[in-house]
């Protein structure tokens, strides 16, 4: 999917920013620890997520990367017996402040999951879901516009424009995942969290999603958890390496992969464990 195909949508006309400008942190985590019942899953994580960049969280299974991701839009609230300490702030407001409303927060921090999970509804209704519950469209025309632009930005429009009324579950795996991305961006979140979005997909579908992530970076801050170091290297500007619940190393992707400062990182990226 190339940019020119989307050239008629306004966002494509925005000038591409140069890659490594002076960065402003979009979200800041300080001393973030997570407990499941008595078990501590995350230890004092400090991290700055940079606006309009892709941050990859890597590490071996069970290292706490997904746990941290789910802290960023408080999806852990749903889990029984889970508690979070420390602060995660977004644009200078602590998202764990009791005054903060999760519903509002999640409208600003969207999420895409490991397995594509389209609702058992039509493609149109899947994308319209967010705007509908948040009351973002005043009428059908507005909703149509939102759905179309979201699908276009998820590079799915051309494939589904003739069958918007068909169930979203009928699409292929890669299409389903792009539908989920379209669903997430339909509410114009500021940050999109992606939890191993390609782990259930074949290489071709994966490549398309990665391409899409690259495009979305222009407008959204993206945090992606991935198992694949190659993927992290391909799509991200910043990479954070987690190990046993600790944030071991965090920095420019290129630096981290070529010249890691911690030997655990070294060990992981050279394949000695993981």
């Amino acid at each position: 999917m190339s940019m020119t195909e989307d050239s008629q949508t306004p966002e494509a006309s925005t000038p591409v920013e140069t890659l490594t400008t002076e960065t402003t942190p979009k979200m800041i985590g300080r001393d973030v620890s997570v407990f499941y019942a008595d078990k501590q899953a995350l230890f004092d994580v400090d991290i700055d997520i940079v606006e309009k960049e892709v941050t990859a969280l890597i590490g071996p299974s069970g290292c706490g990367k997904s746990t941290f991701l789910r802290c960023m839009n408080r999806m852990n609230d749903v889990i029984e017996g889970c508690s979070v300490t420390g602060t995660i702030s977004m644009d200078d407001g602590d998202i764990y402040d009791p005054k903060v409303d999760v519903v509002q927060l999640r409208a600003r921090v969207g999420m895409v999951f490991q397995k594509p999970n389209p609702f058992p509804k039509s493609i149109y209704e899947n994308v319209a879901y967010g705007p509908r519950i948040h009351g973002l469209a005043a009428n059908k025309a507005e909703m149509d516009a939102i759905v179309e632009s979201s699908l276009r930005r998820a590079s799915l429009w051309e494939e589904v424009k003739d069958r918007l009324e068909q169930p979203g579950t009928g699409l292929s795996g890669g299409q389903q995942q792009r539908l989920c991305i379209a669903r997430a961006i339909a509410v114009e979140p500021e940050v999109i969290l992606m939890d191993e979005p390609c782990s259930a997909l074949d290489p071709i579908a994966t490549a398309r999603i990665e391409e899409l992530i690259h495009e979305l970076r222009e407008n959204f801050t993206i945090v992606i958890v991935t198992h694949s170091m190659q993927q992290a290297a391909r799509v991200s500007q910043k990479t954070a390496f987690f190990h046993l619940g600790n944030l071991v190393e965090y920095g420019e992707t290129e630096v981290l992969f070529t010249n890691p400062s911690d030997e655990r990182t070294q060990g992981y990226i050279t394949g000695r464990f993981g």
């Binding site: 949508t9 306004p10 925005t14 519903v103 509002q104 409208a107 009351g135 973002l136 009428n139 509410v187």
Partner: protein, 601 residues
Amino acid sequence: MTDATVPNDPAAPVRDAEGIAAAVQKSLKKRYARETRFKLYGVAAIGFALAVLVLLFFTIISNGYTAFVQTKVQLPIDLAQSEIDPDGSGDPEVIGKANYRSLVFNAMRGEFPSVSGRTNRRALTGLLSSGADFELREAVLADPSLIGGVRQVWLTMSDDADVFIKGRSTDVDLADGRGRVSLFDESGVVTVTSGEDDFAQALTDVKDALAEQAVRAENEAARRQGSIALFTAALNENPSEEKAAELREDLERTRAEIIDFEARAADLRDRAAAAGGEEAMDSSMPSYFAVVNGGVVKATSVSANSLTGEVILPLDSLDPAAAGDWRVLSLETPEESRRVKDNQAVWLWTLQQEGKVETKFNTTFFTAGDSREPEQAGIWGAAVGSFWTLLVTLLLSFPIGVMAAVYLEEFAPKNRWTDLVEVNINNLAAVPSIVFGLLGLAMFLNVFGLPRSAPLVGGMVLTLMTLPTIIIASRAALKSVPPSIREAALGMGASRLQAMTHHVLPLALPGMLTGTIIGMAQALGETAPLLMIGMVAFIVDIPGGMTDPATVLPVQIFLWADAPERAFVERTSAAIMVLLGFLILMNLTAVLLRKKFETRW
């Protein structure tokens, strides 16, 4: 952020971060209100279900707990040697043939020597259970040493007396007299005049009743107005001469009646409205009595400070009585709407005051079979019937259920036939139970000629009904045994059947038992199919085996629930308590069994 908004396009969505945040913010209040409301519906639904549960238990228990006691009367019975065993033979045959009925009746009459006249004496002995003489006979037969002297014997009272003593027939109120009363007897009609307005409440009750009667009379009059309209309309349609005469006559009569009713209504209304005065009482009003000088006077007319009426229990004297030395007894329910009449109530009340009437633990209820008389009816017959029926069910359904489950789960090839069997089992689990009754009637009774009303047939029908439950539970239990155990046994050279019986079955047994107990509980509470095969007959005897006519607990409940006697209501409720007790016990056993043997592989 992308700048997607084309400012001139009215259909353009809100596309900037602030706009979206504001829109979300704006929607929040409404959404959270909806959330709360939704959650409230859930709580309300659960609350409703639980409230009904509580109401149900409350109804059953509050209606039923009194059935566990039975009203008995202590009578001094003259068990003279000459009456019972004149020859002193001690032969049970002779002793059993004595006229206990007259002994009991005489003892009862002895308590109230003043009662005279056939009707009254009948009413008096009617307070005893019709089985009281058998009770005495059994007592004497059990202990012949009672013969030869006057013995104090506790005898069962009739259901009406029982209901009255338990306070379920009418509220009984007793008030101390506040004024000094003087008594005046005029040829058997006694007037009790108090210095205070001791009978004001009675007078109020009477006036309330009068007002009600007035309303009824007015309604009658209004109804006849309707008839008049009909007659008039008929007359206007030019009927034949003969018919017209008839109609005119009807019209005339009805008009007279209306005048009559209206006059009565007006009179009643005036009397009800007037303050004070003296009013006559009848059986549609609450009953009032003056208890004075060791006797009881029933009010037939009252004023605020005097009561006139007939003597029910004779007074010792007509001397004036001081305040506090006499009392006003009242029965709130009018005489015409209760089974215990005023004189019977007074007798019962007197016996109760003397400590001769008491409620004692109701052994009959737990040891007797069914009876037409509530005070002689018990659940033992039905309980034994339930036992036999369940025994048959268990003996048939457990082995068959387990064998079927073992085959389907472990040995059956996956083909059309086993699919059919499976669909069948699932369907049978949802077939209405009454259909199984029809099957039992048509097959077991009519084709095979098995006996009606027998626990054997009942058990067979219930077996067919509970089999699906047991099979499904047993299969689940077998499924939960990990294949590794089978493989281990097979690897040792055991045949599949050996692996099954030696290893898998013992591990699955607790689960199978749990399912069986739950199936048995279902069978214990089942009624409808048993009605079809005649287990609904009135059976007094305790069944002694699987082919004797019998009934079961739920059917007994059904039969009693239909009985008109008030005393059966509490017995029905009590039988339900017993049945629920058994069911809870069985389910608890199942839960404990599951907890104890629950293994996570």
